[in-house]
């Protein structure tokens, strides 16, 4: 009998680490690849070089979870293969192309767990491409991994739990936080009271952070609209409207984000079916309760499958691992799977509440000024997008990409794709679900032309 190839796990964040641990415990030897230099993913991202900061300083209330995740993964060493700083850029028929240290390694896998996480979601606003404007996640990474702030007087703008979290982390790090501009009206936040029963710790933590921000004199503004960033060579000020009142604040850094969007390109390349998810306003890969995608042997876990946060990612990673074991006919723990299922559905109900408290300002799309850049890779403005829709009578997102170049640049639509979809939906008077989704293409991120092929070719099965 020939041995089966290794299972492959993409992502060493909370979801990927728990999936790996589950497989290792069952005696399998997975290969884990991650672009980052160390495990932890986004939420438990490790610093690039050691500094004096304690893990509480880095991860706040989540410090113990972070430490546990890091040390649990370290303890698996020797029982799995782990390639850090490795970009998986192409998938096909049980083979993956992975760029690592300037060479390409093609490996055969048997069982694929995608735990690819998320990136920030944004809608373009005037001035968003000025130096000094970062996404909320980017602002946080600068602080967590590099130990530096994006400015000395910083404004945080947007929606979603990260808005207050990152503002609070900056405050704790001693940065002057000038204001938090929330795009939702204050009464949307009252929804959070409904969440108290489900996830009291999370809600209380959020309330504490908000209270601390206020106590330390940070202005919190709700129902912010018509935002524009001003500056010559870099950010100098931010302007917005609240009701009928226009306001302006000077600052030299802005963290901006409208919650997160799942990183689904690899699921697409793996051939998974997608369905439209109203809550996330996105096309997401279908999966069953165990995380099984529509393609046999492909499993989806964590924020890459649907936005649900770090705790859910850990649970979903473990759950996907159990599903893989079950599908291979190996011993697995069905009771544990049930416990996880119940926990995940509770978090799912909580997500509904969060969504109501941090609604996505979809109506902004129609107000994006024509001269505002939407795609910064290919330098395409909202007016050019609208012009292409009109001239070619476009009704579908991939056709829009073909004629306008939107989503064709380095980021392949990861940054501009959701905005382009919203604009197209607005221009054609259709629902966001009706305009379709960008088909993914390899390489999922840029790779060097001079990337050389590893000599070994397909790695022998374990």
């Amino acid at each position: 009998m020939t041995a089966r190839a290794q299972p492959l796990i993409v992502g060493a964040g909370p979801a990927g680490v728990r999936a790996a641990e589950t497989l290792v415990k069952a005696g399998l030897r997975p290969l884990v690849v991650d672009e980052a230099p160390a495990c932890g993913g986004q939420i438990y991202r490790q610093r690039l070089v050691a500094d004096e900061r304690s893990s509480t300083a880095l991860y706040g209330s989540e410090a113990s979870k972070a430490e546990r995740l890091h040390s649990n993964f370290a303890a698996l060493a020797g029982r799995l293969d782990y390639w850090p700083q490795a970009l998986l850029w192409n998938l096909r028929d049980g083979r993956a192309d992975i760029a690592v240290a300037g060479t390409n390694r093609q490996i055969a896998y048997d069982g694929l767990i995608l735990a690819t996480g998320a990136t920030d979601r944004i809608l373009p606003i005037p001035g968003w491409t000025l130096p000094g404007v970062f996404t909320l996640g980017g602002a946080q990474i600068a602080l967590k991994a590099q130990g530096c702030a994006i400015g000395s007087r910083v404004v945080f703008l947007g929606s979603g739990p990260l808005l207050y979290l990152v503002a609070w982390q900056y405050l704790k790090a001693g940065v002057d936080v000038a204001a938090v501009l929330d795009t939702a009206p204050f009464n949307a936040k009252l929804n959070l009271l409904r969440g108290l029963a489900l996830e009291p710790a999370v809600i209380l933590r959020g309330m504490r952070m908000t209270a601390e921000l206020r106590l330390r004199g940070v202005a919190l503004h709700y129902g912010v609209e018509d935002v524009r960033v001003e500056g010559g060579r870099r950010v100098e000020a931010i302007m917005w409207r609240q009701g009928t009142r226009s306001r302006k604040l000077s600052c030299d850094g802005i963290g901006y984000g409208l919650a997160l969007r799942s990183e689904t390109q690899l699921a697409d390349l793996a051939g998974c079916h997608f369905r439209f998810d109203q809550r996330d306003r996105a096309w997401l890969p279908e999966r069953d309760a165990g995380g099984r995608g529509s393609v046999p042997g492909v499993y989806l876990a964590g924020d890459g499958a649907a936005i649900a946060g770090g705790d859910a990612a850990e649970l979903a990673g473990e759950r996907a691992g159990l599903a893989l074991l079950e599908d291979r006919g190996l011993p697995h723990d069905p009771e544990r799977a049930e416990v996880i299922g119940r926990a995940l559905s509770r978090i799912g109900r909580f997500r509904d509440i969060l969504e109501a408290a941090f609604p996505f300002p979809a109506h902004w799309a129609k107000d994006i000024a024509d001269e505002t850049p939407v795609c910064r890779c290919e330098e395409i403005s909202a007016g050019e997008v609208r012009g292409a829709v009109g001239h070619f009578e476009i009704s579908e997102l991939n056709r829009l990409k073909a004629v306008s170049r939107i989503g064709m640049g380095r980021c392949q639509g990861r940054i501009c794709g959701s905005a382009a979809a919203e604009i197209l939906a607005g221009e054609t008077g259709r629902g966001i679900d009706a305009v379709g989704r960008l088909r993914s293409q390899a390489p999922v991120k840029p790779i060097p032309l001079a990337l050389t092929m590893a000599e070994t070719g397909v790695k022998a099965a374990e």
């Binding site: 192409n90 096909r92 083979r95 192309d97 390409n104 093609q106 390349l269 051939g271 290919e378 001239h391 070619f392 009578e393 579908e396 991939n398 056709r399 073909a402 004629v403 170049r405 064709m408 640049g409 380095r410 392949q412 293409q441 390899a442 390489p443 840029p446 790779i447 060097p448 032309l449 001079a450 990337l451 050389t452 092929m453």
Partner: protein, 398 residues
């Protein structure tokens, strides 16, 4: 409830061939329906490499190719956009003496056809095209050739046709065509019944089934050329590059991205779709980095491929059906239909109006194939097994 439509000409397939024919026919005052199973210009015509070249074509294609050559600079007037058409010249490289001899033989064979080919030796190449590195022996330059943006051109022809009054029916697959009385009856989409005096079969890689339905079998295979595009770079390439015998082709668009091709993709389970092979794309990337020093540190940002119909003798089928009056075929462009398509559109319109074309097309008759037994049709090769795409065929040596 079913919809009915009565037109002079029904065109199956809204690629560049079908949509340019639609526009030309409309210009002659005919009523036209242009039907596509998906979006017009979303197949080969909209996803190709964008080479607008006459150089290297089989001799029989040159009159038609010259006719198209006259149309390309008039796109703005014709379809309202210039399609990013750029007369950059097409530089065809020779790796060795044998390649160079082939280029010389070709230049001699086409002398007098108006291509204006210029043979360039190693030193001349270094002087004029210093951005070409690698071990290149010499080249042949066709100054009048160039490149364009296929995504815009093909979509642009279909939109112009629509503005001119063509019934452009997208997401409307033609499911059946039958001859009835003086014309044809077509069933399309969920509920469309169409009657037409003429039918043009320009269904690209899918056209053989329509030919077969009228008793004409064609050895049409599928090929999937595979493309790589780099991030935007400063201006490096001043010409569209090809290579004698195939291997690599490359161009740089105004925005700065370099498009590089030369390998074949693999079909997915649904053979209408394909995806570049990782190792194929890497091979072409490495080759580009070696041949163009300016690309050595560049990144590839995207791959793509497309589905194209190919015929063994590398010439398309263009002309009237030999079994069915009123039916006209135009397909099988074998990796080189982009440049020629606007000319083909005009020829098809002439065939409908006058029953003959002012440009010679006899070489492209469907009658040139020996009947193919139906039973062997299913295992015809996809062509994808071939490692490299012979866009610039060695046959030009003869």
């Amino acid at each position: 409830m079913s919809r009915r439509l009565d037109v002079d000409v029904a065109i199956i397939g809204g690629g560049l061939v079908g949509s340019s024919a639609a526009l030309a026919l409309r210009g002659m005052g005919m009523s036209v329906a242009l039907l596509d199973k998906g979006f017009c210009g979303a197949q080969a015509s909209g996803v190709n490499y964008g080479g607008v070249r006459r150089q290297g074509r089989p001799l029989e294609q040159l009159p038609l190719s010259q006719r198209a050559h006259g149309i390309w600079p008039r796109l703005q007037a014709l379809i309202g956009i210039d399609g990013e058409f750029l007369r950059s010249g097409h530089l065809k490289l020779a790796r060795d003496e044998a390649d160079m001899a082939a280029l010389e033989a070709y230049a001699e064979a086409v002398a007098g056809q108006g291509l204006g080919l210029e043979l360039i030796g190693h030193n001349g190449l270094r002087e004029r095209f210093g951005w070409v590195g690698g071990d290149v022996f010499g080249a042949s330059f066709c100054a009048g050739d160039g490149h364009a943006n296929p995504r815009l051109v093909s979509t642009g022809f279909a939109s112009a046709a629509r503005r001119a009054g063509v019934h452009v029916l997208e997401n409307t697959p033609v499911k059946g065509v039958t001859r009835n009385g003086a014309g044809f009856a077509l069933e399309a989409g969920d509920d469309l019944s169409l009657s037409a005096r003429f039918v043009i079969n320009s269904a690209g890689a899918w056209a053989d089934s329509f030919a077969a339905a009228f008793g004409e079998s064609v050895p049409l295979a599928r090929i999937y050329p595979s493309m790589v595009v780099t991030e935007p770079l400063e201006a490096i390439m001043t010409a569209n590059i090809g290579m004698e015998g195939g291997g690599i082709y490359a161009r740089q668009v105004e925005r700065g991205n370099c498009v590089v091709g030369g390998e074949r993709a693999l079909p997915l389970d649904d053979p209408d779709f394909s995806r570049p092979r990782g190792e194929g794309a890497l091979a072409i990337m490495n080759r580009a980095a070696e041949l163009f020093p300016g690309l050595r540190h560049a990144h590839a940002i995207r791959f793509w491929s497309g589905t194209e119909g190919a015929i063994p003798d590398r010439n398309p089928v263009i002309g009237p059906s030999l079994t069915t009056p009123g039916l006209i075929h135009a397909f099988g462009f074998t990796g080189a239909g982009f440049q020629i398509a606007p000319g083909v559109g005009e020829v098809l319109a002439e065939l409908v109006r006058d029953g003959r074309s002012t440009t010679p097309i006899d070489a492209f008759t469907i009658g040139r194939f020996a009947p193919v037994p139906i039973s062997t049709r299913t295992d015809r090769g996809s062509g994808a097994g071939e490692a490299s795409e012979p866009q610039h065929p060695r046959e030009t040596r003869s």
